[in-house]
């Protein structure tokens, strides 16, 4: 167990995480979504915890993996992963896979809650207040909107890091040995279930080609869906995973996907997915 005095993570590091988490959404990409932002946030922590460059590299790669979460909720996960990295730095038997499994397990549900709170409720309420003043030309409308939205937004971020770190720390320090293995396994299960669901919900392919004449022409999409819904997203993900294991260059895979998309749009084989 890491006592408070020994810990390398103090108030300064928590504050640093908070500030670094601000541009969480600013480097978004469709490939790994917020991975660059996450690695950027974790960089000072990693530097502080691991004396060896090799461990630092491994940790950076860990956090350059896929991550996507409502911006305001990400600090909670950052806090927990900081506690886990800290544990890993002390405990050679720590299973590092559990760090990404924890991230994968939490990002989905926290996004669900975060989108509902920040995008669905707080934004609508504060914009409503702002608009009611602004529609008569009152400049206080926009000003109030920015303040009313961002004060809770920033507070939630700051306490998110703090709470996430102490939660992670408390949870991890209580457990040892084989118990840890079982808990890691349980976290992995949660992570896997969420990743499975995310592939079905976030990867989308739409093939609108019809075949069979008559009154009820069938599309390829509906045929595939009748075999199994989301069959194509699952197949594509496994196929790319297979290609990556064979050491295919990932930039070429990305490029090919973009070319196929544009070719698909021209030929009508692929259509914009509808939700």
């Amino acid at each position: 167990m890491i006592s408070k005095n020994e810990s390398k993570i103090g108030k300064k590091e928590i504050r640093q995480l908070f500030w670094r988490s601000m541009p969480m959404e600013a480097s978004f990409s469709y490939e790994r979504m917020m991975s660059m932002a996450y690695a950027y946030c974790m960089y000072p922590i990693i530097k502080k915890l691991y004396p060896k460059l090799d461990d630092q590299k491994k940790a950076m790669h860990r956090h350059l993996e896929f991550f996507n979460c409502t911006s305001a909720c990400s600090p909670i996960i950052l806090g927990i992963s900081t506690a886990m990295e800290e544990r890993n730095a002390y405990d050679p038997n720590f299973d590092t896979d559990s760090i990404n499994a924890m991230k994968a397990g939490l990002m989905g549900p926290l996004s669900g809650i975060g989108d509902a709170i920040f995008w669905g409720s707080l934004r609508i309420i504060t914009a409503g207040i702002g608009i009611s003043l602004a529609k008569d030309g009152n400049w206080l409308g926009p000003v109030l909107f920015v303040l009313l939205f961002n004060i809770p937004n920033y507070l939630f971020r700051y306490y998110g890091v703090k709470y996430g770190y102490s939660l992670g720390n408390k949870f991890i320090s209580k457990i040892d040995g084989s118990l840890m293995d079982n808990i890691t396994y349980a976290i992995n299960i949660l992570g896997m279930a969420v990743i499975g669901a995310m592939i079905a919900s976030m990867v989308s392919i739409n093939i609108p080609i019809t075949f069979g004449g008559g009154k009820h022409p069938q599309t390829v999409q509906s045929l595939l869906n009748s075999i199994m819904p989301c069959l194509l997203p699952l197949g594509l993900t496994f196929y790319i995973s297979h290609l990556l294991k064979k050491k295919y260059n990932i930039l070429i895979i990305l490029l090919v996907i973009i070319i196929i998309s544009i070719f698909g749009a021209y030929s009508g084989i692929l259509a914009v997915p509808k939700d």
């Binding site: 480097s27 490939e31 790669h61 993996e65 549900p109 609508i124 702002g130 949660l190 990867v203 544009i262």
Partner: protein, 256 residues
């Protein structure tokens, strides 16, 4: 005109810092309307147009990976042209909507091409041991988008609304659709990488349970996480009971 263009560049840059400042919504039309009103010396009209555009976009949400017409560029150019022509919110909207739709092409080129590229640069820098440079790829990416977006928007303002519409008409619909299609396919690459790190036979069944929960039952993420968590807890209980049992019985169990 030059001065206005420069000021619009600055306002656009600030607006696109929205994601840099903690997803603070300073790029929403309600806010940019006020800033543009100050640029054109007509705060009242700017705020009113902003409020109107905000109402139009209010319901369009960015949920998960699906992104609606770009509200920042639409709000900025719609409002700027309307203020310049001394016209009302209706004109702003008719300019804003097509621009916002086309602008997704530029927006997506960041999300589909530029940022994945920077992400891979970051991977390479980590391999070379240049961790700080790798981390700062994020800052480069975060500031590149506001900068390029502000140049495009100020440029579009300078060219005028007529020219913008002509340019918009030239871009083939298929290219735009192609980029939208790519936004649906690319997450597969990210998930594939994640799977290569975490997938194993021991957890494979739970992966498929999660998949089926969404694919067949359309359960939301919180629901999937609760079931995933419960399954994890069940496995945890089973494993610890089994281990406890074998520890207590010791050699005895071997005799059976």
């Amino acid at each position: 005109m030059i001065l206005q263009t420069i000021l619009i560049f600055i306002v656009s840059f600030i607006a696109y810092l929205q994601d840099f400042t903690g997803t603070s919504f300073i790029g929403r039309p309600l806010v940019t309307g006020l800033m543009l009103g100050m640029v054109f010396g007509d705060v009242k009209s700017g705020v009113m147009i902003g409020a109107y555009l905000e109402m139009v976009w209010m319901g369009m949400m960015q949920i998960g990976a699906s992104i609606p017409p770009d509200v920042i560029s639409g709000g900025l150019l719609g409002c700027a042209f309307a203020l310049k022509m001394h016209s009302g919110p209706n004109v702003a909207l008719t300019i804003a909507l097509p621009i916002a739709t086309i602008y997704l092409l530029i927006e997506n080129s960041f999300y589909v091409i530029i940022n994945p590229f920077l992400n891979h640069l970051a991977d390479n820098f980590v391999d070379k041991g240049k961790l700080k440079t790798a981390a700062n790829m994020h800052i480069l990416s975060s500031l590149l988008r506001p900068l390029l977006s502000a140049i495009v928007i100020a440029g579009a303002f300078y060219l005028g609304s007529g020219a913008v519409r002509n340019v918009v008409a030239i871009i083939p619909k298929q290219i735009m659709d192609g980029m939208s299609i790519a936004t649906g396919l690319l997450p597969a690459v990210g998930f594939a990488q994640l799977l290569n790190m975490t997938y194993s036979k021991k957890v494979a069944p739970f992966f498929f349970i999660g998949f089926v929960l969404y694919a067949y039952l359309k359960l939301d993420m919180i629901g999937v996480a609760i079931i995933g968590g419960a399954l994890g807890a069940i496995m945890y209980i089973i494993l610890s009971t089994v281990q406890e049992g074998s520890e207590q019985n010791g050699d005895v169990s071997d005799d059976f």
